[in-house]
Each structure stands twice: as structure tokens, then as C-alpha cells.
Amino acid sequence: MSSRPPANDVVEVTVLGPGRGECCVLHTGRGEWLVVDSCVMKDGSPAALAYLRTIGVPASAVRWIVATHWHDDHVRGLADLVEQCSNATVYQSAALCRDEFMRLAAIGNDAMIEGSSGVKEMWTAWTHLADSGRSVPHLVRADQRIYLRDDQRDPSCEIWSLSPSNSSMVEACLKFRSLIPKEREPKRAVPRPKRNPASVVAWVRTGQAIVLLGADLERSSDRERGWQAIVNSAGRPTDKAQLVKIPHHGSENAHDPQMWTELLVSDPYAAVTPFSCGSVRLPKKSDRSRIAELSFGAWLTRDTMLTRTIRRSRTVDKTFREVVRRSELLSVDPGRVTFRCHADNPEEWEVDAPDPAVRLT
């Protein structure tokens, strides 16, 4: 199915996820593509573009890039993606234009701090946009229509951001401030906080097909934050999605039952990407069962239950295993799940989930 580009009236949603990180690639009809977040191939190149190349779609066909939030598992390769997709307009959470975050990004970009990080990736993407004279990143927040194509030619399309809410942005800014180092603190990489209050959830309709991309938004008991803020909003589109990119790698703390009842049709299609960091490995077994139970069909882009290792010399390997309690190779090509349907018939999605993707049961 996925060796050629979809027809103009076919909607495609491809979810890519390596050992850690994710990216969604959507065909919104008429050869226009949306890329949400970024992850990389084993060789470090943007996975979205590598996938598009395999189906013969050039980078110039990408019209929109959305960076849902700044965590490194969602923006890895973003700067390259932005640079190569020269026709794309970049969208990002409005929280990221705040002084607190921009200072944090400048700090994280300090020459002495080696290695990649989410803030560094954001800073590099921004400076490229500024230096190349391309349009400024557009800032998005809850209940904002990003794009409307309704010119009598099928299929029509609209793209909405459903978050972050004002309250979530305040929470995010407080977090950014707490991460800014103080005088006399040793330099180190900006650590990734555990919570993602200012994540952008996207709602995309092409013809009759509606897709909900859950980013890393988590549940909150506060009606003005997290999924509750979306569920209770009067300003969002009310049509329910038939396909969902499960939020925050299927974690329990991102599961809001009302997301399933208010924003999705019953038994939707679902895709999940894996995540591992320290003791956290998502989705857990319980998450897998819950998602499978709530969906008509749910796929994980790469099975986290399988440990991946790297080949090294026998001597090194021996010492490695003595010293390290647990290890997992992160530099792997992402797994992929691709869904396609005709824009007017979103009841029947064709699913392509080659190895190492697995269907959740």
C-alpha cells in the first residue's frame, strides 16, 4: 500500500516511532502534507522525510510542520526537517515564545554543553528560520483554526489546535523558569521535565475523515488544564475523530476517559509510539490492554517488550554488561503504522503495519 503516494482524495496518517520519539505524517488531500513533531532515522536524518521519499513525495510537498512541544523525543531532527521543507510554515505552542523558554533555549545552546537536546533543536530551527528570511513560527493555542481549505474543490480540509489552554501555558512558564540555571550553578544540559502541560493537540479533518493527534497531553483534574480543558471547551470543533494518535505514548496519566467519549467515535483506530527513559517504559502492559479494549484496532509502531542491543567487541561487551544494569539501543530506524482511507469514507481504513510494528491485543 505505502510504496506510492496516496491519491488526491485519499487521507493518509503515518505514525513513526523509534525506541524513543515520534512523528506523524498526514496527507490532507490534494498532495498537501502535514508533519507533526519529528524523530530521526538511525543515521540521524528526519524520519518524516525518509518516509515520504519512500513513497515518492518530495519535501516541498510539506505545507505545515507542527512542533507540539520541545521535549527531545518530539523534536529530534526538527531543525533539519524545517530546513529541508522550505515550503512549510512552522507552528508551535504559544508557550514557547515566552521569555522564560527562549532564555532556556539560549542557555541550552551554550557551546560547552555537548549533545543534542530539545531546546537546542528548537533554537537551531528558529535561527534557521530567522536567518533564511522564512516566515516566523506561528504560535498556536487552544481552539485555534490553523488552516481552512474550503474552495468548492474536494476534499476540503481544516486543521485545528485544541491546546494548550491559558492555564496550561501559565503552568508551563513556571516550569521553564524553574529550569533556568542560577549564577554559580554548574553548566549542564537542560533536563527534560516529566510533565508536558503546553503540548499542542491537533485536530485534522479532510473531507469526512477526522484525525486526533494527542501529542503528549496529560490528564488533569483541573477543568482548565490537560484533556479536561479540551473536553470542556466551547470553542473547539465538535465532530468526533475516527482515528487517534494516543497521547503520551499510552501512559496512564494521559488517559482521560472523556477524551474517548467526547472527542472520538466509539471503537476508533489508534496508533501508539513507544518511549523509554530510566525506569519508565511506555506503553506498559496495562496501557496496551486498555488501549486495545477501547479501540477497533490499535497498533504500536515498535514493540518495547523487545530489547535491542548493539554489537561490540567481546572484551568491551563483557565489561559493559558488568557495569550496566540495563541498556537499550536508541539509534534504530523507526517503526511505522500507516492508515489510509478515502476522504468520504472514514469508516474503512486500510492499515499497513510492517515489522517491527505490532497490533495491540
Binding site: G19, R20, K42, D43, G44, C97, D99, M102, R103, A105, A106, I107, D110, M112, I113, E114, G115, S117, W126, T127, A130, V136, P137, L139, P181, K182, E183, R184, E185, P186, K187, R188, A189, V190, P191, R192, S276, C277, G278, S279, I310, R312, S313, T315, V316, K318, T319, F320, E322, V323, V324, R325, R326, S327, E328, L329, L330, S331
Partner: protein, 181 residues
């Protein structure tokens, strides 16, 4: 690894090597000096090279000292593989990190170490975001005994100062203005 030749006391067999190198005597008229017969003299090598033999008439010109290889005196370390790492989380008894192969750039692994891998002096540096170097290799003792070894060293990056923080603030402000945010 740097090799230093300072303050190394040669062992007897090393001395023999050095003594051999002292000869032959090179006569340089301008530097020649008469020594009283039978006087004991001491070279830079100290007592190990004290001579009880009658002094020659001319002072031997000692060629530049070539001390024995350090590996025969102090432990040496040969790295087999190196990584650069970034701490993700610090727990009660372990910490997790992302390590990147220093040679095959871009090859990353997430690993979990015991806290004991970090020396007590470095524990206060162990925080999320801390950068470290990790090396696996062979350590060779002066006795010739060889063992496999893992060395994890947290980088002591300079602390943020007012100037650095102001610079970051200025860069952020400049970019904000360019974007008109």
C-alpha cells in the same frame, strides 16, 4: 595519556641502562673541568649513580636523560571504547543516562548504572543533565598485571556566571525581536 619524566627514581636495573648511556665521555674543551683524583661526585641521578671510582680528568657530558617508559613505572590505561553521556534521572541506587559512542557518532544507547560507579567526590555533580565521559579499556599495573576497567568521569563544566546568563538573555531577546513575538 601524558607521560611525565619528572621526579622519577630509577630502579637499579634502570640505572644500569642510564650508566651505559653516560659513556662514552665526550670531550668539549670549553666545558672541560679538572677534578681532583679520587673525589666522589654525584650526578643528577643521585645516590643511585654515585661513583667511588677516581674522577676522570674531564667531566663527562651527560646526554639528555631518557627515562624508562612510564608504563613500567605507573599504571597505564588503554581505552577500547569511549562514550559521552548525559544523565537523565538519578534514583536511590541507580541513575540512567543516554550515552553516545564517541567514534560512531549518532549511535545512542540508554543505560542504567549503579550509583557506585560515581566516586564520592563526584556525587554532588550527579544531576539530570550532567555530562560525563565513560571509557572501557585495559589497565596495566607497573607489575605488568592487566585488568579490564570501566572509568566514568563527570565533566566539571564551569558554573554559570552573570555574564553568561546575561548573554543568553540578550540572545533570546534579539531573537524575540526578529520574530516580533
Amino acid at each position: 595519556m601524558s607521560h611525565s619524566s619528572a621526579a622519577v627514581t630509577p630502579r637499579p636495573k634502570d640505572t644500569a641502562v642510564l650508566e651505559e648511556r653516560i659513556t662514552p665521555v665526550v670531550k668539549i674543551p670549553s666545558m672541560a673541568r679538572k677534578w681532583p683524583a679520587g673525589e666522589t661526585y654525584e650526578t643528577q641521578l643521585g645516590n643511585a649513580c654515585r661513583s667511588e671510582t677516581p674522577m676522570p680528568n674531564t667531566l663527562p657530558v651527560v646526554p639528555p636523560k631518557k627515562l624508562p617508559e612510564r608504563s613500567r613505572i605507573q599504571p597505564s590505561f588503554v581505552a577500547l571504547q569511549k562514550w559521552e553521556g548525559r544523565v537523565l534521572e538519578v534514583g536511590d541506587s541507580t541513575f540512567s543516562a543516554v550515552v553516545e559512542d564517541s567514534v560512531r557518532r549518532g549511535v545512542e544507547e540508554e543505560v542504567e548504572f549503579d550509583l557506585e560507579e560515581i566516586g564520592p567526590d563526584d556525587r554532588n555533580l550527579l544531576k539530570p543533565g550532567a555530562i560525563f565521559y565513560w571509557t572501557i579499556g585495559y589497565r596495566t599495573e607497573p607489575s605488568g598485571e592487566r585488568s579490564r576497567s570501566s572509568v566514568l568521569v563527570l565533566r566539571r563544566l564551569p558554573a554559570w556566571n552573570e555574564e553568561g546568563l546575561q548573554r543568553a538573555r540578550r540572545l533570546a531577546e534579539e531573537l524575540r525581536k526578529r520574530f516580533d513575538w
